[in-house]
C-alpha cells in the first residue's frame, strides 16, 4: 500500500536534490545557507518519522536560524530568454497544456478510482490520505509526460525545482511552521482563554449581539490561529452552543454551517494562513507579501457582514 511516508521520501529526495544543485552553484553568494536549509528540510522528510521529537525540534530550529539569521539567497539564473520561450511556445503549441492539466485531472481521477480498487482486500493507497497521494502520483505522471515530450537534459527537472523553490524561499516552510504553532496553542489552552475574555467583556444579552459576536469571533480567532478549524471548537463551545442554541433557541446546524464560513472570511485576511495568502505572493513574484490579503479584505468584510445578517435571519426562524 502506498502511504504518506512514501510521498515524504519523494519530497525528501527532491529537497536533497535542490540542496545539491545549490551547493554547486557558485553564482549564489549564500549557496551554503540555501544548501543547509533545503538539506535539513529534506532530512525531516526522509527520516523525520523515525527521529525522536527532540531531534526534529532542533532540526527545525536549525532551519529557522539559517533562514532568518544567515539568510537565503538566489543564484543568478542564466537560462532561457523571453524570445527563446516564445519560440518554444510556438513550436509546442497547445501540447504544452497536456502535462499541466494532467496534474489536476489525474489528481481528481485518483481520488475517485483509488477508493474503488483493492488488491486482496487491501486498497492500493492509504485512503485517509488519498487526495495528497493522488496529487503526488499525478505530478509524477505529468513529469513523465513532460520528459518524454520535451526531451530536456535529465537533470533539468531538479534544476527547475531549485529555481522555483529558491524563488519561494523560506515561505515554502511557513505553512508547516504555522501548523506547528497552532498545535502549541492548543496544548497551552489559548482558545479557552480567548473565549473566556469574550464572554466576560461583551454584553451578550441580545440575540443579534450574540450572533455578531460569534461570527466576528470566528473570523478574528481564525485570523490569530490562521485556520478556521482551530477556531471553530473554541468559539462554538464558548459562545455558539451556550448562547445561540441553548439560551436563544437557535438552530445548531445553521449556526455551525455559517459560523464555519465566517471563519473562512478570517482566513482571507490573515498572514497566518500562509499557504493561501503568503505563498502565492512568493510564487507569483509579487514584491508586497500582503498583496493577496489586500485584495481579499474588502470581499472578506462584506461577506462577514452578509454572514451575520444571514445567520441572524435564518438561525432563529423556528
Amino acid at each position: 500500500m502506498i502511504t504518506l511516508e512514501h510521498i515524504y521520501w519523494l519530497s525528501g529526495l527532491m529537497m536533497a536534490g535542490v540542496a545539491i544543485v545549490n551547493w554547486r552553484d557558485r553564482s549564489n553568494p549564500r549557496r551554503f545557507n540555501n544548501s543547509a536549509f533545503w538539506g535539513v528540510y529534506g532530512i525531516t522528510f526522509l527520516v523525520g518519522t523515525h527521529l525522536p521529537d527532540l531531534v526534529n525540534g532542533f532540526l527545525v530550529i536549525a532551519m529557522v536560524l539559517v533562514a532568518s539569521i544567515r539568510g537565503l539567497g538566489q543564484g543568478s539564473h542564466v537560462g532561457d530568454t523571453q524570445a527563446e520561450r516564445e519560440a518554444s511556445a510556438k513550436r509546442w503549441g497547445n501540447r504544452l497544456f497536456v502535462p499541466a492539466l494532467a496534474i489536476p485531472l489525474i489528481t481528481v481521477l485518483g481520488t475517485v478510482i483509488f477508493k474503488r480498487i483493492a488488491i486482496h482486500g487491501v486498497p492500493i493507497v492509504d485512503l485517509k490520505q488519498v487526495t495528497v497521494i493522488s496529487l503526488a502520483i499525478a505530478t509524477l505522471v505529468a513529469l513523465a509526460i513532460g520528459m518524454i515530450m520535451l526531451r530536456p537534459p535529465l537533470l533539468a527537472p531538479i534544476r527547475e525545482a531549485r529555481r522555483l523553490l529558491d524563488a519561494v524561499g523560506w515561505a515554502a516552510v511557513l505553512p508547516q511552521m504555522l501548523a506547528a504553532l497552532g498545535a502549541l496553542f492548543a496544548i497551552a489552552g489559548v482558545g479557552t482563554v480567548v473565549s473566556g475574555i469574550a464572554q466576560r467583556w461583551i454584553p451578550l444579552d441580545k440575540p443579534f449581539v450574540v450572533v455578531a459576536t460569534y461570527a466576528i469571533g470566528m473570523a478574528a480567532f481564525t485570523m490569530i490561529m490562521g485556520n478556521a478549524f482551530a477556531a471553530f471548537p473554541v468559539m462554538t463551545a464558548g459562545i455558539g452552543l451556550p448562547l445561540i442554541v441553548q439560551k436563544f433557541g437557535g438552530d445548531p446546524t445553521i449556526m455551525a454551517a455559517i459560523g464555519m464560513l465566517s471563519g473562512f472570511c478570517g482566513t482571507l485576511m490573515t498572514p497566518m494562513a500562509a499557504n493561501f495568502n503568503i505563498v502565492p505572493t512568493a510564487l507569483l513574484e509579487l514584491p508586497d507579501e500582503n498583496a493577496v490579503i489586500k485584495i481579499q479584505i474588502p470581499t472578506a468584510i462584506a461577506l462577514l457582514g452578509a454572514n451575520i445578517l444571514l445567520m441572524n435571519f435564518l438561525v432563529f426562524r423556528r
Binding site: G57, L184, G189
Partner: protein, 227 residues
C-alpha cells in the same frame, strides 16, 4: 493570560516585519513555556507538530514539472491562447475561473486548482495576456495587481465552494464536534446551509472583479493618451 503571549509575539513580529519563521518559532516556544512545558519539552512538541504537518508541503512536488513547462514556454502559450479571444478581458478570465473553481469545489473536486499548479502557470498569465491584448504593454504595478487578483480568486472560490460538498474536512469537523456535544446533524443539512453564503461570495467578488476591469480601463487608457 500569559498563555496569550504567543499571539502578542506574532502580531508584533508581523508588524515589525521580522522574518516570520523566526517570529513563529519564538511565539511557539514562548506559548509552550507559558503553558507549563519545560524548554526541551517545548522543542520536542514543536518538532513533533512540524513532522506531523509535513503533508502541507506535498504541493511542492509539482515544481519540477511546472518549471520544465515554463522553460518550454507554457506561460507564453497561455497568454497567446487568450490573445486569440477578442472578448477576453482580465476580469472575464478571472470570472470564468472563479465560476469553474467554485462549482468544482462544491462537487468535491477541490484539487482542480491551486496556486502552484494552476494560478502561476496558467490563470495569472492568461489574465495578464488578456489585459495586454487590450491595452498593450502593461506597467509592472498592473501586472502585480492582476496576479494578486488571480491568487485571490483561487482562494475565495475554493473556500466558499468546498463547504457545499458533504464529505469535506470542515463539514466532518463540524459534525464530529456537535456529536461530542450531544447534537446530531446531517451533513447534507450543513451543506445546504452553506449555499446562501456561497451565493453571496459569488455576487460580491464577481462584482469587484467587474470593477477591476473598469479601473484598469480608466488607468491604462489615460496612460495611453499621455504617451
Amino acid at each position: 493570560m500569559l498563555t496569550l503571549i504567543g499571539i502578542v509575539i506574532v502580531v508584533v513580529g508581523f508588524v515589525l516585519r521580522i522574518n516570520p519563521l523566526l517570529v513563529v518559532t519564538i511565539a511557539g516556544l514562548a506559548t509552550g513555556i507559558a503553558g507549563g512545558l519545560g524548554p526541551l519539552e517545548v522543542i520536542a512538541a514543536f518538532g513533533k507538530a512540524f513532522i506531523t504537518s509535513r503533508y502541507v508541503a506535498i504541493v511542492w512536488l509539482v515544481l519540477p514539472v511546472i518549471g520544465l513547462l515554463e522553460h518550454a514556454g507554457l506561460k507564453e502559450r497561455a497568454r497567446a491562447v487568450v490573445a486569440g479571444l477578442r472578448a477576453a478581458t482580465a476580469s472575464r478570465v478571472l470570472l470564468v475561473y472563479f465560476a469553474i473553481r467554485q462549482v468544482t469545489a462544491a462537487l468535491g473536486l477541490t484539487s482542480l486548482g491551486g496556486h502552484a499548479q494552476m494560478v502561476r502557470p496558467l490563470i495569472a498569465p492568461m489574465a495578464e495576456g488578456a489585459a495586454e491584448n487590450q491595452y498593450g504593454e502593461l506597467p509592472q504595478s498592473t501586472r502585480y495587481r492582476i496576479r494578486a487578483n488571480a491568487a485571490a480568486v483561487d482562494n475565495i472560490a475554493l473556500f466558499f465552494g468546498e463547504d457545499i460538498f458533504i464529505a469535506i474536512g470542515s463539514i466532518l469537523l463540524i459534525r464530529g464536534f456537535l456529536d461530542q456535544n450531544g447534537i446530531h446533524v446531517e451533513p447534507t443539512q450543513l451543506a445546504i446551509w452553506a449555499i446562501p453564503t456561497a451565493v453571496c461570495a459569488f455576487v460580491i467578488h464577481c462584482t469587484r472583479l467587474l470593477l477591476l476591469d473598469r479601473r484598469l480601463r480608466a488607468e491604462l487608457t489615460k496612460n495611453h493618451d499621455k504617451t
